[in-house]
């Protein structure tokens, strides 16, 4: 029995240690080295720097509720420090099911809030549903168009002027089908504030 255990346990222990060194230490370090040399911007989180200060990541959404800004999606990534969500150290979805009363009631409330701020008309679904990560950096082009009038009013711009900003931050799917058309909310708002160089 002891001899048998030694025969199977020795390779198990030795191979686990060897693989920890190879796949647990060498592999991530090699990838880090290549990443930091070739793609340093992405490897460090695609951070946007304005006047020497980091104002956010272009991949991570922020909470907006002031009228001069485009608003992103509702976020379930809440915490005591971030009651409105977008806590990027606490990514989360709502996990409410399709027949959840809490979900249906919340949606109705959000629709009311949206229509109060932006006027009537159907509200694009992505503006009233919480994203998967709670950090969705994007809204749909329809959701941006829905907010154009409000942002134009708040900024004293014409709607067409605001639309040119929106167009600048709208990206189309790669090859026309990989992904969805999207508007990056943080970059759009930075641009409207004149902070994007």
């Amino acid at each position: 029995m002891i001899g048998f255990l030694r025969r199977v346990l020795r390779p198990a222990i030795a191979i686990l240690i060897a693989m920890t060194v190879i796949t647990g230490v060498a592999y991530p370090l090699v990838v880090t080295a290549v990443a930091q040399v070739v793609f340093p911007y992405q490897a460090n989180g695609s951070m946007i720097v304005v006047d020497g200060k980091t104002v956010g990541s272009s991949l991570i959404g922020q909470f907006f509720n002031e009228p001069q800004y485009f608003w992103g999606r509702p976020s379930a990534a809440t915490s005591s420090a971030a009651p409105n969500g977008y806590d990027a150290s606490n990514s989360a979805g709502s996990n409410l099911g399709p027949t959840s009363k809490a979900l249906i009631d919340t949606i109705a409330q959000r629709v009311d809030d949206m229509r109060k701020a932006n006027g009537g008309g159907p509200v694009p679904v992505d503006l009233v549903t919480s994203s998967a990560s709670g950090l969705d950096p994007s809204i749909s082009p329809a959701a941006a168009e829905y907010q154009v009038a409000r942002v134009a009013r708040a900024r004293g711009l014409t709607e067409d002027q605001v639309r040119t900003y929106v167009a600048r931050h709208t990206t189309q799917p790669l090859l026309g089908f990989l992904g969805e058309p999207q508007v990056n909310v943080l970059e759009l708002n930075l641009d409207l504030d004149g902070l994007l160089k």
């Binding site: 390779p11 922020q62 509720n65 606490n90 679904v125 998967a132 990989l178 708002n189």
Partner: protein, 570 residues
């Protein structure tokens, strides 16, 4: 469901069809010890590993020796992983005061990663150190995936060798699987992910001041290196809580496509590897066709239903052409999120790019049913093939044999009472664990405390949890509060039963088949290639799954669909 969504599905299908013979052929050459283009670099490393481990690479093991080695590796890796998680607070690369995991959570997590499940009762951002992620969890992603691969190869050898006792050497199969198959692709894949925006840094959480003046903590880490193997190894454990829906794990439409490709690549390629062992590629392509057919039907159903939206939303919400966006990301859209869900559960991965808990009732049933079929469409690396060959092929030849009144044969070998017992055992273990633990949880207070949602959806959350853990998938209807002593312990047991309750009978079956002589095919032999066989295989898989789980599914998603139709909320 838009035209572009079909294009995504079609492009994925074409990519997998092209990759299957290339990658499957490469896997065959590696696992049979033939020289490949990486040999000059990797062969010396391989030799050193055997020397320090005391492994004689020419010595093959019989099924008992192979099983003993698999179980020894599992025991050592789970024990070492447990100790690592209990000590992670003091081990290197703790990026910011992350505490040790509690005993039951550490047990659940260690079992979870070594069984290739990657069920997570913790949030990566706040409960795992960079050291844990890279040097413990990601290592298990490699070892557990390569173990699945090794067992599939052992079964291929058992089915196709003649009059022998041995199935190969687990230590050699494990080492080659990691060094030649998983690791080289991971290095390339991880760098491509970084190019698209996935971070790879050891700097701690970055604190920024937002445009509206709030403070935002942005969690970072060595994400890319873990992300690729998590997808390719069909592991699925997210670096972050939101898994592949997090923009740092899956930033673009391209990464979403590549991650789906990585999920499917090796699982489907192994059908070709099987064809190589069988000496007839049609044997492999038939299995490929059966797996693909079931997967695609479920995927299209989930894509269609998710793109329809939620009928209970007020009609002031514009859903037409967009679909159900609760728990989804704008850059992926609803239909392709449905596709990802079908793929991540058809392979035993469990990575998610949208929350399955917020899917519509019947589209949420697609991932649930995929797991309950035993993770064989195409399943995880290796695990899908060994599951499909036993729950599918062996049972199907048995049923065909009953119909024509002859002893069933597979690949020229008689399938007799012992093999059928072992194959039935794997099917029964699956059903007993999923349904037994679900019954236990729904009947006891600590189990009932788990669900977030009320009504039939709450039951679905529990059923999903044990289907996922037994199937070694790892995705969740994540409203369930899993980090309790009850769910940590019963979940770990379900994962162990689902993994080793399959592996041991399958290796026994492989050993028994290896010892048999090959008989020449006769007029009465049921051919195991071609359309009739594919249809029979699909039928057996669906019927075995449906018979076992239809009653439970009726109480969950099907009841919920009917109540949703009637406008009920909970």
């Amino acid at each position: 469901m838009a035209f572009g969504d079909f294009l995504t599905l079609a492009a994925l299908a074409v990519a997998i069809l092209i990759a299957t013979p290339l990658w499957g052929g490469y896997i065959y050459r590696v696992m049979e010890g033939q020289r490949v283009f990486l040999s000059p670099v990797l062969r010396p490393v391989e030799r050193v590993i055997y020397r320090v481990s005391g492994v004689d690479e020419t010595a093959e093991q019989d099924w008992k020796g192979y099983t003993a080695a698999v179980l020894a590796m599992a025991f050592v890796a789970i024990a070492a992983g447990y100790v690592f998680l209990r000590l992670q607070n003091v081990l290197p690369f703790n990026q910011g005061g992350i505490p040790a995991m509690s005993p039951d959570l550490a047990f659940n997590t260690s079992v979870s990663f070594e069984t290739n499940t990657n069920w997570q009762n913790y949030s990566g951002e706040s409960a795992a150190t960079y050291g844990t992620q890279a040097a413990m969890l990601a290592v298990r992603n490699f070892t557990s995936a390569a173990t699945g691969l090794a067992i599939a190869i052992a079964l291929f050898r058992g089915l196709t060798r003649r009059s022998t006792k041995t199935l190969g050497n687990y230590w050699v199969d494990l080492t080659r699987g990691i060094l030649y198959i998983l690791l080289p692709v991971s290095v390339i894949g991880a760098v491509v992910l970084v190019w698209q925006g996935v971070p790879q840094t050891w700097n701690p959480t970055q604190v920024v001041t937002t445009l509206q003046g709030a403070t935002q903590n942005i969690a970072l880490g060595p994400v890319a290196s873990q992300e690729w193997i998590k997808e390719m190894g069909n592991n699925g454990g997210g670096f972050f809580n939101a898994n592949s829906s997090h923009p740092f794990e899956n930033p673009t439409g391209l990464t979403n496509f590549l991650e789906m490709f990585a999920l499917l690549l090796t699982a489907f390629a192994l059908t070709y590897t099987f064809g190589k062992y069988a000496g007839k590629q049609a044997q492999g392509w038939t299995i490929f066709a059966a797996m693909a057919a079931i997967l695609v039907v479920g995927a299209v159903l989930a894509m269609h239903l998710e793109s329809q939206g939620n009928p209970l939303f007020p009609n002031t919400v514009a859903q037409a052409g967009v679909g159900n966006m609760e728990g989804k990301e704008v850059r992926f859209g609803s239909a392709v999120s449905g596709l990802f869900a079908a793929i991540t559960t058809g392979t035993s991965t469990g990575a998610i790019n949208s929350w399955h808990d917020s899917f519509q009732p019947l589209s949420g049933m697609v991932p649930l049913f995929n797991m309950e079929l035993g993770e064989i469409t195409p399943g995880g690396i290796g695990a899908g093939m060994y599951g499909m060959l036993t729950i599918g092929a062996i049972l199907a030849v048995f049923i065909a044999g009953l119909m024509v009144g002859r002893t069933p044969e597979y690949l020229g070998k008689k399938v007799e009472a012992f093999e059928i017992k072992m194959a039935m055992l794997t099917a029964l273990v699956l059903g007993a664990s999923i349904l037994g633990f679900t019954a236990l949880a729904t009947a006891t207070a600590p189990g009932q405390a788990g669900p977030l949602n009320a009504g039939p959806h709450g039951f679905s959350e529990i059923l999903y949890a044990y289907s996922s853990m037994t199937g070694n998938n790892g995705s969740a209807f994540a409203g369930l509060s899993g980090n309790t002593t009850f769910y940590n312990i019963t979940g770990a047991l379900a994962m162990l039963i689902g993994r080793y309750g399959m592996i041991v009978p399958i290796l026994a079956l492989a050993g028994s088949m290896a010892a048999k002589r090959r008989v020449a095919p006769s007029l009465g032999t049921f051919p195991t290639t071609g359309a009739t066989w594919t249809v029979l295989l699909i039928g057996v898989v669906i019927i075995v799954g449906a018979l076992a789980f239809f009653p439970a599914l009726s109480l969950g998603p099907i009841a919920e669909q009917l109540l949703q139709n009637a406008g009920k909320v909970f």
